[in-house]
Amino acid sequence: MSGLTQGERRELRIVGFLCNWCSYGGADTAGVARASQPTDLRIIRVPCSGRVDPLFVVKALLNGADGVLVSGCHPRDCHYGTGNFYARRRLEVLRRFLPVLGIDPKRFSYTWVSASEGQRWQTVVTRFTEEIHELGPAPRFMDAGPLEREIEQPASSPLHSLDSASLESLAALKQAIASRLPELDLVLGWQEGRDKAHLVPLFIRTPEDLDRLAIGPLAVHNLAVYLPELKGRKVGIVVKGCDGRSVVELLQEKLISREDVEIFAVACHGTFDTGRIDQALGRYQHLESVRMDGKELRITCDGRERHFSLENDSSTKCLHCKTPLSPLSDHSFGSAPSVGEGDSTPPDLARLDAMTLDERRAFWRSQMERCIRCYACRNACPLCVCRDHCISDTREPHFTTQESTAKEKFFFQIIHSLHLAGRCTGCGECQRSCPVGIPILALREHLIRVTDELFPEYRAGMTVDAAAPLLTYSVEEPHIQEREW
């Protein structure tokens, strides 16, 4: 760089994560050669680019860094063999994740510089610093104002028909469970909860328990969440299509074993967005009846009847569901609706797509304000595997602050989303469980879209003997286009 504005312009805060073996050496080589370099970069030396958790990058960007650069050994040159192959996948996913958070992806870059490439190092750091100066200081998350424009949620039509057909399988399902019950320790299903409009999980051990089994469009819970804690016992589980994918993912990650689980797959014809039903019912005292007929649900409470239809009031995940029947099963019931071609963008995500980066920050800030960090979203996720050792509240290490600002709460959503990248099946339990209705599923849906683009041959939760894309690598990455410097 020309160097002429160096003394005058305000320094920005750029964080560089450099691997010990190559890039740190490269920076050193540049220094020894007295190559002129901008001074905005603060270097953090790490053993390997594979050590750079994408969360380090997001944490820096959320907490005032204007830019973050990660640099490691060139692919095939990793000191540890494969660290940078993993890093490349993770960092590319991260780069594509940033926009949905309202963070300009240009503020983050990753590259490879070997210990002998002093000159390349000089080019990389100079270019990147220049680019960050063109962008100027990063806007702070907590400075985001309210979202000023109403952004319509685009209508989307389902990929398969939605109706109450799954209810018809109940008798056959009960019969099958009854015959298997003596061999199994328990079977997971649903039952009526505090009233007929609210189903809850059911743990079936006896024929009397089985009598209470309920299925259908109000059976929303993904029961796969219970499987890891029941490991070692023979468990039957009733699954919808999406729940079945969670079971597959758990099997794939060896969190449960195939011999211990017996899958009763019910062809699913859609579930209701129970939050929307609760909202429409409002405050009521007595629920008189719940009737499901075709696509229509009629709920009568306090003498008033209200109608819901799966077309208008289904969970948004059902609109783009391609797996109405579990990809893996031991018994299956009902016939699955045929799935249409194409992809549809989930409505909440389409709404975010229509926003500018500033608007997305404003959106997330205003939504996250009301999070009370109950972590229902985390605990309802069948694939959140750390359970009692979550990085967000463990003291070893003390990675996140206890401070309860919208920024910290948002950071937790980012932690959860990134930990699920490539593993999340889009089951929607995180969002369904949030008592204050924060539309957090959109973050996961965006990541699903990103991993679909990068690893089109893989879909989470479809095959047991596959490997999640971020837990593996390939030497050539056909879908990752690295930047030139």
């Binding site: 505090r194 609760d278 909202q279 960090r373 204050v436």
Partner: protein, 366 residues
């Protein structure tokens, strides 16, 4: 002497503006998201608010999700350049606050918090400062609802406990009744017209609300019966099976008051630190995990037992009342639909009440 004033619906905003002249005013605001929810927010002119029961109780007004207890900083000693001293700042800030249109169960929640925080062995200065500056204007409930049960646990849709003023909706507006001296002076300072001529409508509305409630089971024996269940782990296991240990039930509860303390660096000062106090909850396994790694409540059933026992056995043993105001938020906000009423009744062997209440029995009959 009670003071009665009438607040016409179209005078609501002017009344809030009057309150806001002196204090921070918190009102329920409806939020749209994946599902709608109602949270308390600071009122300002033009803010759309609602009179609906909030999803999140206004507990944070006295017990914030997170607060700084003190900050400290290492600075050079003025007298001796070779030494450093630690400067500690524990200045208390308590903003005068008035909560408008909370419900009787939430107001009773403040009374539950007051006992340990104000009248326990040690008074909590942070809580005390905020509580002293708090005024509670409560909207009495027009009816009960399917998930709430205040009248089981000593409250009711018009219970005055914990409130400074009760507002009851009547034709055209709200009848305001002072409960405390604080409430009375507030009403007297206001320009609200006299409301004594409308007492009959107020009583009518409250009577209707009371009559709308279902039969309340007798919970007198609860402390004893629940204590007797202590070692019956089968019982607790059965009722906790569906629990995912998230903690929503406690964080949304107006009477839960456990916290944790964390020392952290201070982002504002490289050489500084701060002590934070934040909500904690007994449903989380970290809650009782000791530094050694030992955890006396490793199983979720043990944690559920703790929560239920605290609410219906040990707190009453200490204070004579339940630490539950029956608001029903743990029922309506639990992602797996666990119903505390059902657990309570089952512990008491009162399953018939459960069925009459529409709450399913999970007893397997063995």
């Amino acid at each position: 002497m009670n003071c009665y004033r009438f607040l016409a619906k179209d005078a609501l905003s002017a009344f809030l503006a009057f309150l806001a002249e002196r204090e921070r005013v918190l009102v329920p605001v409806e939020k749209n998201g994946a599902r709608s929810s109602v949270v308390f927010e600071e009122w300002h002119e033009g803010l759309p608010f609602t009179m609906l029961k909030s999803t999140v109780p206004p507990k944070a007004a006295v017990l914030p999700q997170c607060e700084v207890l003190f900050t400290c900083r290492r600075v050079p000693d003025e007298g001796d350049q070779n030494r450093h001293v630690m400067v500690l700042d524990d200045t208390l800030t308590a903003q005068p606050t008035v909560i408008v249109a909370t419900r009787p169960c939430d107001a009773r929640g403040f009374a539950v918090l007051d006992r340990p925080y104000l009248n326990g062995l040690y008074q909590d200065p942070y809580y005390a400062a905020r509580r002293k500056e708090l005024t509670v204007l409560t909207l009495t409930c027009p009816t009960g609802c399917e998930s709430c049960f205040c009248h089981w646990v000593g409250g009711g849709p018009s219970s005055p406990e914990g409130s400074d003023v009760l507002l009851t909706e009547i034709e055209g507006g709200y009848l305001c009744q002072s409960v405390t001296e604080k409430g009375r002076s507030l009403l007297e300072r206001s320009a609200l017209p006299d409301g004594e001529d409308r007492l009959a409508s107020m009583q009518e509305a409250r009577k209707k609300a009371y009559q709308s409630l279902g039969r309340a089971p007798d919970l007198k024996t609860a402390p004893q019966r629940i204590s007797e269940r202590f070692s019956d782990l089968d019982f607790w296991n059965r009722w906790t099976e569906a629990c995912i240990s998230c903690g929503a039930c406690t964080y949304f509860c107006p009477t839960c008051y456990c916290f944790t303390i964390t020392d952290e660096g201070d982002p504002a000062h490289a050489e500084g630190g701060r002590r934070l106090r934040s909500w904690d909850n007994c449903m989380s396994s970290l809650f009782t995990r000791e530094a050694s790694g030992h955890n006396p409540r490793r199983k979720k059933a043990e944690r559920m037992r703790n929560r239920i026992s605290h609410k219906y056995a040990t707190y009453p043993e200490n204070w004579g009342v339940f630490s539950c105001s029956g608001c029903g938020r743990c029922v309506s906000n639990c992602p797996t639909g666990i119903d505390i009423r059902a657990i309570l009744l089952s512990a008491l062997g009162k399953e018939e009440d459960m069925i009459s209440h529409g709450t399913q029995s999970k007893e397997t009959g063995q």
